[in-house]
């Protein structure tokens, strides 16, 4: 990101901003694959928005799936133990 900012008067320095943006970039699967360089801050934010929307939609879909399944099953405490075991892997 070009440090055009003489925004140093503000709460955040360019360096801090860069490191936060970089940190976000490492979380984004689509930007992180095989790209050693750093994407522009705007692009990182854009991808972040898309990724969050995607995750939220997936939560929605999974909630719907679960609501359809769960109507017909019982959740026992035994199930809970199995699931937690599975999730530790």
């Amino acid at each position: 990101m070009s440090s055009q900012g003489s925004r140093a008067s503000n709460k955040i320095t360019d360096d801090e901003l860069n490191s936060l943006i970089l940190k976000l970039q490492t979380l984004l699967p689509q930007l992180n694959q095989g790209r050693n360089g750093r994407a522009s801050a705007t692009k990182v934010l854009n991808e972040t928005c898309c990724y969050i929307r995607k995750l939220q939609k997936e939560v929605d879909d999974l909630s719907e799936r679960l609501s359809q399944r769960l109507g017909s099953v019982d959740i026992t405490s035994f199930d809970a133990e199995i699931l937690k075991g599975l999730l530790q892997q």
């Binding site: 990101m1 070009s2 055009q4 900012g5 003489s6 925004r7 503000n10 709460k11 955040i12 801090e16 901003l17 936060l20 943006i21 940190k23 976000l24 979380l27 522009s40 801050a41 705007t42 934010l45 854009n46 972040t48 928005c49 990724y51 969050i52 929307r53 995750l55 939220q56 997936e58 939560v59 929605d60 999974l62 909630s63 719907e64 799936r65 679960l66 609501s67 359809q68 399944r69 769960l70 109507g71 017909s72 099953v73 019982d74 959740i75 199930d79 809970a80 199995i82 699931l83 937690k84 599975l86 999730l87 530790q88 892997q89």
Partner: protein
Amino acid sequence: MSPMNNPQDLNPSSLKSRFTTRFLRALTKINGQKPISSSSPREMFQRYRRIKVAADKSMAWSVRSRRTWSRAMLWKLRSRYSCRQASSSRRSSVRTSTIIKSRQAKTSHEKENKNTTTGQDEVGFVVQADKLRKLVPGGEAMDLCNLLGETAHYIKCLTTQVQVMRKIAHFYSL
């Protein structure tokens, strides 16, 4: 015995297990509420809504109030619940106007900066930051530095949430 994947990070295994426990508890409760035979579209929809709220609530509770986004989410869930109970829109409108005021202050502040520096980058950045603010709970009242930090944490929690829910859905589809 529990694997600590990223000890310097969120400690995802304990977040995962806290979320799983709470979420399963909520699911059990939801499951026990309605008889299986009632499958009218409206009731299906209500069950889906309850599960979604339970997922978000369980996640926010597992993070506790350590994060601004989790506090904002819990606040939102609580106020939505009590709005439905008491049908009072006063509280939410007060909060909304506070958020709008602080947001306007930030937007005008950022617009000033935009005018002093050149380049499309700045405009694009501010636009994206605004979009991000709408997506992250409580984002509209955060400054940029906090917004980015909270976003990173929020994404990590969302991926945990999705992971756990996927496993549960898979488990019960067998």
